[in-house]
């Protein structure tokens, strides 16, 4: 199997699913902050902080350890899903949640994929 091709197709499908999503949200990982901008389902910018007067619609706030556990290759129970982390209060969803909730399956998959990019940044 051509893994790169498969990943690319999977991304195309994710972008299609998020084709009505246009938003900037904040991902807070401990003290680190990333402003993630999405246009028509594609991530067009991941801007690391510190930010002066950042503008965002919703924020996903968790400590460094929580995100590391979430992005682990085999996450343990309670760290394997955004809503699981919400339930156990290790993740807070702040701000206007409408776009997040309306596209919940899309965002769950997108945030999963963002792990490698945020680790690399």
């Amino acid at each position: 199997m051509n893994t790169k091709q498969t990943t690319s197709n999977a991304n195309e499908w994710l972008v299609h699913r998020g084709r009505f999503v246009n938003v900037t949200f904040l991902l807070k990982k401990g003290e680190a902050e990333y402003l993630v901008t999405i246009r028509e389902g594609s991530v067009v910018q991941i801007k690391p902080g510190p930010h002066v007067m950042p503008r965002w619609t919703f924020a996903l706030v968790a400590d460094d350890d929580t995100w590391q556990r979430f992005w682990a290759p085999e996450p343990q129970p309670r760290f394997h899903d955004l809503m699981a982390m919400v339930k156990f209060k290790t993740l807070k969803v702040e701000g206007d949640q409408a776009v997040f909730m309306s596209n919940l399956l899309y965002f769950k998959e997108l945030i999963q994929q963002l792990g490698s990019q945020i680790h690399a940044s």
Partner: protein
């Protein structure tokens, strides 16, 4: 090549529940000890597709599932359009007993998951004499809401998408992809407000804290099986329940989430069959 045909038979039965007539869809397969299976909130009896097709089960059990009113192929009652759907303990228990009466199901083992896992506790309290045994999957006395339930039913958010999004993480991470997405598909097909209405029972009205201690497993054996990855009803929640009910039997199912029979049916059978053997041999714990 001959097409594969399942030995599952479906039908409709007209039953009176809480003074109203309902058209209820059911499926059944096998013969022997009746095993009545109750689906989760916002889903339907398709969750039990593999149990209905399991020869290990149907060889000596009559597996019976029904779609609750408003779910799957069961119709909502007349006048549904004039009020908000809300499941209550009494309505749920009446639905199960009315279905059993109409279908002449005697002394079944009732197996329920999630809201079904909760209602078997209500059955254990109120009608233990009518069941040979009760099996609660993902069974707890209470679950606190951990998100704003209004998201599940509002005209500006697609109900199917958001309901599937809410429950997707409740499936164990290693579930087979086809079984995972079939499980989510059932949620995507739920009627508007139905998942939310079921959760009224699960997260509010059907609270059994302070009551479960009164369950007498001498009258009806109670078995509890809970998936490791469930964060709605956690293994700890079921463990607490087991501690409060003397004589109950509890096991954690490693790697599995909130929908064992639908997300990981083959792994689930390895937990269910020994429980059924215990019940058959009269071994309570």
């Amino acid at each position: 090549m001959r097409a594969k045909k399942e030995a599952v038979v479906g039908g409709y039965v007209h039953i009176e529940i809480a003074g109203q007539m309902h058209r209820v869809y059911y499926e059944t397969a096998g013969a022997g000890q009746p095993l009545l299976c109750l689906h989760t909130a916002g889903s339907d009896s398709r969750q039990y597709r593999e149990l209905l097709n399991s020869e290990a089960l149907t060889a000596n059990h009559q597996v019976i599932c029904f779609d609750m009113p408003y779910h799957g192929k069961s119709s909502p009652p007349a006048g549904w359009e004039k009020h908000e759907y809300r499941l209550t303990s009494d309505l749920y228990v009446q639905t199960i007993l009315s279905f059993m009466d109409a279908m002449e199901i005697h002394n079944p083992i009732a197996l329920g998951c999630s809201i079904g896992g909760r209602v078997v506790l209500h059955l254990a309290l109120k009608h233990p004499e009518r069941f040979k045994a009760l099996i609660g999957l993902q069974s707890g006395a209470h679950v606190n809401p951990y998100y704003e339930l209004d998201w599940l039913h509002r005209p500006d958010v697609n109900g199917g998408e958001v309901c599937a999004g809410i429950v997707s993480g409740l499936i164990g991470p290693n579930a087979d992809s086809q079984d995972r997405w079939e499980t989510l598909w059932h949620y995507m097909q739920g009627g508007p407000g139905i998942f939310k209405g079921d959760l009224h029972f699960y997260k509010s009205e059907g609270d059994l804290r302070g009551m479960v201690q009164k369950i007498d497993t001498g009258k009806c054996p109670l078995h509890l099986l809970t998936g490791e990855y469930d964060y709605s009803c956690t293994p700890e929640d079921s463990q607490d329940l087991a501690r409060l009910i003397p004589g109950s039997h509890f096991e954690i199912m490693p790697g599995i989430g909130h929908f064992p029979m639908s997300e990981a049916p083959h792994a689930f059978m390895n937990h269910l069959l020994p429980v059924l053997q215990r019940i058959q041999s009269g071994q309570h714990k």
